[in-house]
Amino acid sequence: MTMDTKRKRPARYGMVIDVDRCTGCGACMIACAVENNVPPAQPEATDRTGITWVRVYQIHNGASFPENRTAFVPVMCQQCGHQTPCVSVCPQQAVDVDRETGIVGQMPQRCLGCRYCMAACPYHARYFNWWDPVWPKGMERTLNPAVAPRMRGVVEKCNFCQGRLHAARERAAAAGRAEPKPGEYVPACVEACPTAAITFGDLADENSAAAEQARGGNTFRLLQKLGTEPKVYYRSSRPWVHQVAQQDFGRRKKEEIRG
């Protein structure tokens, strides 16, 4: 007897981030760095040259004390589903969209470091390795064997912890299933979020929690006007958060960096 482990329909993995729950604790950023072997910063690294596959931005309503209000917005690769800007500019085909999962993948082995993709990404979610990865002596023993460290001169970004997807698929195949069950594959940031602010799942599955939340009220996507159809959705009950999300706050933040 054989089991059919071939996928019936392509998935569209995505996530919904509840901005009203995010405390800006940074657990997602640390879990991501640990999972994906993102090295600690070099002494001269800055906000602009550091590598954070997911970065939590603090946004403001623009008012002054005591009317000021703040929200924390985790921004990772938005996994654009339409005319993915980084894919179209890469001369090396080092970026591709997996039709089976919808995940925008990055192959650092192919990357030449031209950084066209960084210029094209409207979300500033791509990062260049300005230095070779260095961990303090002995700490390389703590690296995740599922992910290879990248070297100086290549671009990297969030891939929804593809290593976890492969591991989950292997487990599913061993159990005779075509794909992991909901919850069997979750990126590190989702698992680490202490407030459960991030819901991850297959947006193509109408019954998934992520798809339900994405359809719900108060949902928006960053820079919707660009029409890149990101697969990362955000939720907030605060109107000013929706407004700021349509501005390029990532770029503004990076341009504020001195030096």
Binding site: I30, A33, V34
Partner: protein
């Protein structure tokens, strides 16, 4: 056909042109990219058998359960354990990278004397000789152990050993997260025993600056139940908790006592308080009189909060019960004063939250071996030690969490002749001030016990097991102190005895992480089986203590001077200080994040939240309101100097419109700053701990 020189050139040019339209150059380019990424200096992750181990985090008192993914026995990733009844799968950013800490560059691997290497045996002999000399000379100076994580088995060992020394004192930092509960225990007549917060059933938390949503209590208890309670955050700083609170009440620094009394005033005047609970207070009339002196209109002038908002806040909290009021202060900014905690304790009684479900509940202490409990030295908070009284000070900084200014420690030392021995894993915190630095094992390197945190609603006990081998030369702090003071003992043996003491209670349940199975302790079978379960990944949780006859309460304390102290505190802490407001027109308010206040090292990947994103402020970064900055001649991003009566320090200045005008918010930690820490210029004498001091700032 004759092939000429010109033809060769044509062929070569044609070949080059033709090659460009073949895949060859592009393939070469790609291969070059591949080849150039296989360098020997790029670290290669380890290979080995993949497995899972369980332990408990000891980086803060919450003691969250940890699931460690191991490769060849080496932890490569940490995560929370959803099966744990209190921590609920939550692990904070610091805990997620805890497995990096054994390899931190600041790690101490051998004993140091005056910053220079010395043999461990030599150091022990020299310190023991100093102790003998103290005794021989009849010195009245104290021998003290400053334990930065009370409640552990190691703490009980310290207390037991120090009790045998006439000059021995067991010292702890000022109470922080448990300060409100400690203050309440003081107000209750008789032996109140440990108290806890019933966060599982509370509907409103009235927080006086406690970082409820940013590293407070057991995060899993708070964050995973956020929808079930409202938060009213009374705090000067627009902190993360203030940003996500249902209501933020920005008050002037040092006016918490006045604000609490104003709330009490409204509750009493509008008869919103729990009258049955108030009848328990024998001094209710006197308390009412004190609260009556602080009506919202007066407190509006002190705190900067409009009278109407004070009234609305009181009504909101009273209308959503069960409610609790918590203080405790900030991990970097220091504790609230005892009078503030007394005022907050009074609010808890008025709101009917004392010894009620959803409020403040009684719990049992985690049992300790009888040999240790009997005759243990009392606990003394460091501020209660006489100045200049300590001749030999051991600092167990292996479990440091919150900030404690060195100046506060220093003023307790006998002038000129005190010996300071720091037992720590890193050259951080007090290491630079100690005469001897003794290397201690780090989290994941040794067996530790994890008793219930100060605010737990029931006692609990679990183990933090060793997952990696410690470097040679490190010594368990309590064992080193025992060796120097002539007390033999192995910590792991005593932890096992404590587990046996827990087992003998026969109460509560044991939760096994691998299966999620919860079984009564009485059915585990034997103390050995209980121990094995704990080491393999399990925790014990006591039963809730049932309702007890409510004893009397003294809202103004049991020493008779409570009313006067409360009045003084409520009149304004800053005004009680000696610094002239004209010379120091601003208020310095330090703040920090639990576990990242510079007392210990953080994982290098914490650079993601500090250096690489600016998500959190690093040590000595000062935020001021743009209007304040402009008035002081500052510019956004400039370097500045802050001066108080206690000295000055350099800071990096940032403009932030969320900062209260007239206030300088300065971050404490996370790494030892190159410049003098802001903690060392904070006012310790003004009666308000070090959370606010008059200051000025200028650009350099």
């Amino acid at each position: 056909m004759k092939v000429g020189r010109r033809d060769l050139f044509k062929f070569a040019a044609g070949s080059v042109a033709g090659l460009a339209i073949t895949p060859v150059p592009w393939k070469l380019l790609e291969d070059t990219a591949l080849w150039s990424q296989n360098w020997s200096w790029i670290p290669r992750p380890p290979r080995g058998e993949i497995g899972t181990k369980f332990t408990a985090c000891t980086l803060c008192p919450a003691g969250c359960a940890v699931r460690a993914r191991c490769v060849g026995g080496q932890p490569v990733a940490l995560a929370g354990v959803a099966e744990h009844p209190a921590t609920r799968g939550v692990l904070c950013a610091l805990g997620l990278a805890g497995h990096h800490l054994p390899y931190h560059p600041l790690r101490v691997r051998q004993a140091l004397r005056g910053g220079r290497p010395v043999g461990l045996d030599t150091a022990a002999a020299e310190i023991a000789a100093a102790l003998v000399e103290m005794r021989r000379s009849g010195s009245k100076n104290l021998v003290a152990v400053l334990d930065e994580r009370p409640g552990r088995t190691a703490s009980w060992l310290y207390r037991r050993w120090l009790a045998d020394m006439p000059q021995g004192r067991y010292v702890t930092p000022p109470e922080r997260e448990g300060a409100t509960l400690a203050a309440l225990a003081e107000l209750i007549e008789g032996d109140a025993g440990p108290l806890g917060l019933d966060l599982e059933r509370v509907r409103t938390i009235l927080s006086f600056g406690a970082p409820v949503l940013d590293g407070w209590s057991t995060p899993g208890r708070v964050l995973r139940r956020r929808e079930r309670f409202q938060i009213v955050q009374v705090e000067t700083r627009y902190s993360r908790t203030a940003a996500l609170a249902d209501q933020w009440v920005p008050i002037r620094p040092g006016t918490e006592a006045a604000f609490a009394l104003a709330l009490a005033h409204v509750l009493i005047e509008e008869r919103l308080y729990d009258e049955a609970a108030a009848r328990r207070a024998g001094d209710f009339a006197a308390y009412r009189k004190v609260a009556g002196e602080f009506p919202p209109e007066r407190v509006a002038g002190l705190s900067g909060v409009a009278a109407e908002q004070v009234i609305q806040t009181a009504r909101l909290v009273a209308g959503r019960r069960p409610a609790i009021a918590v203080g405790g202060g900030d991990p970097g900014g220091g504790p609230l004063g005892r009078e503030e905690e007394m005022a907050i304790g009074g609010l808890n009684l008025l709101l009917g939250g004392l010894e009620r479900d959803g409020g403040i509940v009684r719990r049992r202490a985690v049992p300790a071996p009888k040999e240790l409990e009997a005759g243990a030295a009392p606990v003394t908070e460091i501020q209660d030690l006489p100045n200049g009284s300590v001749g030999l000070l051991f600092i167990d900084a292996s479990a440091a969490v919150d900030a404690l200014p060195w100046r506060l420690v220093e003023q307790k030392l006998a002038s000129g002749k005190a010996l300071v021995v720091s037992l720590a894993a890193y050259r951080a915190g007090y290491a630079g001030h100690a005469d001897y630095l003794i290397p201690a094992p780090m989290y994941l390197e040794s067996l530790q016990d994890v008793p219930a945190p100060a605010d737990a609603a029931e006692a609990s006990f679990s183990l933090s097991t060793a997952l990696v081998a410690p470097p040679q030369g490190v010594v368990e702090p309590v064992e080193f102190v025992g060796r120097v003071t002539g007390n033999a003992g192995t910590l792991s043996d005593w932890i096992k005895r404590r587990a046996a003491a827990v087992y003998r209670t026969g109460r509560g349940t044991v939760t096994t992480y691998t299966t999620g199975k919860v079984e009564p302790l009485a059915e585990v079978g034997s103390a050995e089986k209980f121990w094995n379960a704990l080491t393999e990944g399990a925790c014990w949780q006591d039963e809730r203590v049932g309702g007890r006859a409510a004893p009397g309460v003294a809202l103004l304390g049991r020493h008779g001077d409570g009313a006067a102290r409360l009045r003084r505190a409520a009149a304004g802490r800053l005004d009680a200080g000696e610094a002239p407001a004209g010379q120091y027109p601003l208020v310095l308010a330090p703040f920090g994040w639990r576990g990242a206040t510079g007392n210990t090292a953080l994982s290098p990947v914490m650079s993601k939240v500090y250096q690489e994103s600016g998500l959190r402020r690093a040590g000595n970064q000062a935020a001021v309101h743009p209007a304040t900055g402009a008035a002081c001649g500052l510019t956004d991003g400039c370097r500045g100097v802050i001066e108080t009566q206690c000295g000055s320090c350099g800071v990096a200045v940032f403009f932030d419109p969320a900062v209260m005008p007239g206030v300088i918010q300065v971050a404490v930690g996370p790494e030892p700053p190159r410049t003098r820490s802001v903690l060392e210029v904070c006012d310790l004498e003004g009666g308000c701990s070090w959370r606010a001091a008059r200051a000025r700032i200028w650009k350099v």
